[in-house]
Amino acid sequence: MAITVRIPTPLQRLTNGQAEVQCEGKTVTELLADLERRHPGVKERLCDESGKLRRFVNVFVNEEDIRFLQGDQTAVKEGDDVSIIPAIAGG
């Protein structure tokens, strides 16, 4: 089951320049683990030493911030769109 993950510009070097990649998983955490398997190095950029998403990284599932859903345990399914977006923008 393929889920589209949109990759922020700073990480596109790790995805061979691709702005979108396909990944699998049942939750955001599983999805990020799969992203790391396919594109090694991505996870340490997105997560701190304890494995939690960094303070300045926002993740959206179908345009909704996962902090309004179930955080990194938010369920994802085939056809979903996931965006990883730097938090420092706007205002």
Binding site: P8, P10, R67, P86
Partner: protein, 416 residues
């Protein structure tokens, strides 16, 4: 002559060239402009500043451009004055207003950030500028882009006040109204900025843009007689203005332009959108995003970019925060109008109402210098006031009709 050395990640300290970059490529931390303060110290004195034209560019050495300013020559250096009648109403001794409601040309403090951003955008070779906005920024980007000859796209939530939409349209940008909140607009712009070769002022050139807000703080210090106030109440949307006013006072101290100051910063938000005030009151550095619901649409950012940094700045200063209801916001607008003759937008109503609340709680002392930040103009946000103010007395054009209908008002004016 440039005093800008480069860019630096505020979190991990990585250095970057002064190009188009808005977050650290490694840790996604905030990017700050790094200046050569030794060179600035030699160039910038009180006398040098005071001799320059009254615009935000009088602090040019402390702004992130390489060449000469090309945008916003008439922006900034807005009125700053003692507010005696408001001080009496609030029961404080030394109160001042910094009034950006009359900023040239678009009547909000956003003329500052946009003057800097568009000057820098030109230096970086952009021909198209854009922004994610709750209204005031869209007005400023549209106006300055028109004068400077940029193509312009502004992205706003679809439910903005009519005045704020028209005050962009008149400059003929492409206005894109998005069915969603400001936070949706912001997310979309972050994605668009990766795809289109445009300068999104508050996304991909945000490090330069945000520095423009320092000029608000520089002016407060200069106009107060080269000193920082003891207390300052600042409206918070993204929280950026708070961090930049704090930085402005710190830079002036570092350069010896003002004496050591310990200004306490206070964040003002609306109850319907108070992620920053909530974090401050919890003394926490975790800013939980919210879904905004308030008449103060210019402050309706549920997921504030500088939430973390502004919370830190306020707590480190020994300041505090409050949130106020829509009703209190309207009362704040009216109080400022009837005591000081200044018509501010909803954000100014928030600042007023929060100041009143904090003074009432004894958090802000009554005998120390206090500045209130008025950042926008009331003519842009008329909707919340419709039907809320004293209605005009409608009469026939005769003396008899006046005396029959307005007797009470005449009596109370005579008594005064």
């Amino acid at each position: 002559m440039s005093y800008m050395i480069g860019l630096k990640c505020r979190e991990c300290g990585r250095l970057y060239p002064k190009e188009v970059i808005n977050v650290c490529e490694y840790c996604f931390g905030s990017i700050e402009v790094d200046y050569d303060y030794d060179a600035i110290r030699r160039a910038l004195t009180r006398q040098a500043i005071a001799a320059r034209p009254p615009s935000l560019w009088r602090y040019r050495e402390l702004l992130p451009i390489d060449g000469e300013p090309t945008v916003g020559h008439a922006s900034g250096f807005t009125p700053f004055f003692r507010a005696q009648r408001l001080a009496e109403a609030l029961g404080v001794e030394e109160l001042y207003l910094k009034d950006d409601s009359v900023s040239h040309p678009t009547l909000s403090f956003k003329d500052r950030v946009v003057s800097v951003a568009l000057t820098r955008a030109k230096e970086l070779g952009f021909d198209t500028v854009a922004c994610a906005s709750t209204g005031n920024l869209a007005n400023a980007v549209s106006a300055h882009a028109a004068k400077a000859g940029f193509h312009c796209f502004v992205f706003i939530p679809a439910d903005l006040e009519t005045g704020k939409v028209i005050a962009s349209q008149v400059y003929r940008p492409t206005v894109v109204a998005i069915e969603g909140t400001y936070d949706d607009v912001n997310r979309l712009c972050a994605e668009l900025s990766a795809k289109y070769p445009w300068a999104f002022v508050n996304v991909n050139i945000r490090p330069y843009y945000a520095e423009g807000s320092k000029t608000y703080g520089f002016e407060v210090a200069e106009q107060l007689g080269w000193r920082a106030p003891a207390h300052i109440v600042i409206p918070a949307a993204s929280g950026s203005l708070i961090t930049k006013i704090a930085k402005a006072f710190k830079e002036f101290q570092l350069l010896g332009l003002i004496p050591q100051a310990h200004t306490k910063l206070y964040a003002a938000q609306a109850e319907g959108c108070s992620p920053i005030a909530t974090a401050i009151q919890a003394r926490s550095d975790i800013v939980k995003p919210v879904k905004p619901k308030t008449i103060a649409k210019s402050l309706a950012i549920g997921n504030p970019a500088d939430g973390y940094y502004s919370t830190k700045a306020v707590l480190e200063s020994g300041g505090w925060a409050e949130a106020v209801t829509d009703e209190e916001i309207v009362q704040g607008i009216q109080l400022l109008g009837e005591t000081e003759g200044v018509f501010t937008e909803t954000a100014g109503g928030v600042t007023l109402a929060v100041a009143k609340k904090l003074i009432g709680q004894g958090v802000i002392p009554r005998d120390e210098s206090l500045v209130l930040c008025i950042t926008g103009n009331g003519l842009k946000t008329l909707e919340p006031l419709v039907g809320r103010l004293e209605a005009p007395m409608r009469i026939k054009p005769t003396l008899a009709s006046f005396e029959a209908n307005c007797a009470d008002a005449v009596r109370s004016a005579t008594k005064r």
